[in-house]
Symmetry: none
Subunit: 305 residues, 2 copies
């Protein structure tokens, strides 16, 4: 069976294309190196180098194997480091799902706080819609998810980690900008850019329910998924939109924001969710960090740049 030492020998020779220099680099002499390479070649049962007594070149098979050998050694080092870090309780890898909206404000903060508190930890981030995150939690592809509230509490633990006000986004100079605070009833009949009912189900439902309760019927001119696209249309004067506060970070020119005066205005909530059975020691740590962010956020509102 192939040993990693042979991989190291092979990589050295492949990089130097010279047995003597390679041996020097490996702190050994040339003959045993030659034999290690021969051994390797008999084990995988194919020539890796073409040697004339004057030069050494990689075969096609050798090139392929060089790639793989490098990758394998890299993986081995990572595995080693990961195991040690875990044993020191210091870190490890946390696979974390997130939804596109999260990326605006919450995620950057989470990442930087994670780095500060647990320097050796790795957040393995994967963007996926809330529902997909749930299945990934089940299959073990994710350790935690950052998603909108739609979770079956029997199987999952969750904590609220972000709670943002919704704001009115209007093009500069729009009549609704005259007031310092927006009023919901003013949206009645106004050209309005709405969330897609499938792709952005959470925001769609949130707004639809709230508008219906307020008996306000804006004139929906477009349905979109990406908040960024919505703001572009707002800027173009297609209509107004209601977006979470963190959308300000996108910093779209010529778009202004107004808070709603009405204190009953809905919040967009974000939860961190994980399976109770998942033993990853980073989970309680990241949950703490994420919860701490909620408190920070409530005292320090988003400012436009």
């Amino acid at each position: 069976m192939i040993e990693t030492n042979q991989l190291r020998c092979f990589i050295a020779v492949a990089e130097e294309l010279h047995f003597n220099r390679a041996a020097l680099r490996l702190n050994m002499t040339q003959p045993p190196l030659s034999r290690q390479i021969q051994l390797l070649e008999t084990r995988i049962d194919c020539k890796l180098f073409i040697r004339t007594s004057r030069s050494v070149v990689l075969t096609e098979a050798g090139k392929s194997f060089l790639n793989d050998a490098r990758r394998i050694l890299r993986l081995l080092e990572n595995a080693q480091k990961a195991a040690k870090d875990i044993s020191l309780g210091r870190s490890g890898i946390l696979r974390c799902g997130f939804t596109a909206v999260t990326a605006n404000k919450f995620l950057p903060q989470l990442i930087s706080n994670m780095k500060a508190d647990i320097p050796n930890s790795t957040l393995d981030l994967k963007e996926m819609v809330s529902l997909r995150q749930i299945t990934a939690l089940d299959s073990g592809d994710l350790d935690v998810g950052l998603l909108r509230p739609l979770v079956d509490p029997r199987k999952y633990q969750d904590r609220l980690v972000s709670r943002e006000r919704l704001m009115l986004a209007i093009p500069a100079g729009h009549p609704l900008g005259a007031r310092e605070f927006a009023r919901w009833r003013d949206l009645d009949g106004v050209d309005f850019i709405m969330y897609d009912s499938v792709e952005s189900k959470y925001f769609h439902d949130l707004l639809t329910v709230f508008l219906a309760r307020k008996h306000v019927r804006p004139n929906i001119v477009q349905r979109l998924t990406q908040i960024h696209s919505m703001l572009s249309l707002v800027r173009a004067g297609v209509g107004v939109a209601v977006v979470p506060e963190s959308a300000r970070i996108l910093d779209v020119a010529d778009v202004e924001y107004r808070e709603f005066a009405d204190q009953s205005s809905p919040y967009a909530e974000l939860f961190i969710v994980w399976r109770e059975t998942n033993q990853n020691p980073l989970i309680p740590i990241v949950v703490d960090i994420a919860e701490a962010l909620l408190e920070q956020a409530s005292t320090q509102p988003v400012q436009p740049r």
Copy 2:
């Protein structure tokens, strides 16, 4: 440094959670297995198992390392297999130059036979004129070339892979279409579409030499490079042309073809060419396949669609 053998030992113990059973599975005795695991633990510098003298359990670090160890061994096996496959020519990349005319008939057959015989192989096709292919073979940019005979036999290996008759292409209703077989002498003074002397040097020289020997002087009204363009002009009634049999595949409407009665009529030959020093294991295989196509072709002439 960690050796793959230690990974195998570790996986066995992690799966059996029992040193004796694991040792049995590894065809060894328990004491050396214990020491291998200890060695592994000192090398990655963390405990992988919690052993009471009665039971063995994985630590968190051990669980992480088990995942990685399995993945690494799997990768190693795949790497081994991939390298061997390439060396056997069961997979890999063959960079193959071809001339535009080749693409009509020969190349599609070659590609489909390659796919059938060596499913994992990739033909990396690059269209270039014969001369350019030669320089590309020298520089190592190509493994094989499909080109017209103009090769210095000292540096290259070559094999004939295609041999086609030239045919007369005429617009429907042209007087020369009256006969079932064309005669070269009938071309004397006839409006004729000729090959470009530079870009289509091979066909140009072939025809020029042959016509001169027959003392036939057609009236050359146009010089072109692309056979397809020539046939378009034939169709438009600009003149007649002499094209390789495989041009029929282009299936230009209102153009008819006549074989030459004269058995001495020239052939258009195609060779597969490679450098003897090129070790790509796919070369002998593709050469075989290409040669086999010649035999097929000689018994099965091109039919118009």
